[in-house]
């Protein structure tokens, strides 16, 4: 089925995403600029140029982080 979704965990919360979505597509669906976030996929950092190539699978854990105020 074309519009089938899978569940992954993004920043600690479960989220349904299209099957075979890439990390770049995930960022786009969240309206996040890939230059402004760092992506960790199943505990491994994925560099910006590879975001379009890496696809998510059911149960994957994705962390999207950026810099915030701190001391």
């Amino acid at each position: 089925m074309k519009d089938e979704t899978i569940d992954i965990t993004v920043n600690g919360k479960q989220r349904a995403v299209p099957r075979d979505a890439s990390l770049l597509e995930l960022l786009q669906s969240l309206e996040l600029d890939p230059r402004a976030v760092v992506v960790e996929h199943n505990r491994a950092i994925v560099r910006r140029p590879a975001l379009g190539r890496v696809k998510v699978a059911a149960g994957d854990a994705v962390e999207l982080v950026h810099f915030v105020g701190g001391g």
Binding site: L32, G69, G71
Partner: protein, 265 residues
Amino acid sequence: MTTAVELVRNAPLAIGGRTFHSRLMVGTGKYRDNDTMRRAIEASGAEIVTVAVRRVDLDRTKAEGILYHLDPKRYFLLANTAGCSTPEDAVRYARLAREAGFNEFVKLEVIGDQETLLPDVQGLLEAAEALVKEGFQILAYTNEDLITALRLEDAGCAAVMPLASPIGSGLGLLNPYHVRLIKRRLRVPVIVDAGVGTASDACVTMEQGVDGILMNTALAAARDPVAMAQAMRLAVEAGRGAYLAGRMPKREVAVPSSPLEGMLD
């Protein structure tokens, strides 16, 4: 005659192969609003500005990081591992911070106790060793213990950051003797981090001969953060200037400043 200001300006601070002119470094946390933060940092004259690594808030309509309010071309961003309580977490946060693509410097914190936020020095050493091997320039937040400071230097840290007093406490420099000892024995820069509450604390800390100070709450929690930032800038320069000028010896008895000769009968 050399002025104190010239003394201060003639000797820039080198950390991990980079040179900085300001010896005051500031954090970006806890400000009441971003505009106040931006103006306070500007008034502080700081070049090195610390930031934390956190999840993007996906529930907000527009997830804004600190870089929307701070020009990364103007300031040298120093990412911290604040909040991490294991070496594994600290290494993970450091790697994420480096991936943001600004530099290879990390202010390494491994917290050992939630009430005091005092560092877990064993975990700190472990994380420092691992990160130095990965090519990071590590500025290690530690307590004012000489042996730990020496081990952090041996591990290859670019700078060692003993605390003045606990993070956010504003208690000032509690152990000047130990901080002086660390400065005297280390070759890498010693930057006092945490605990400075007001300008006199900053001045006294710099008078110990340390290479710089990092502070956050002292500015963010001041009634007027911008004015306090300016006061801190002057205090750091004054303390550095006094240290370089070399203070007079202390005496237990008075020594008159005016001549004894020529007194009337």
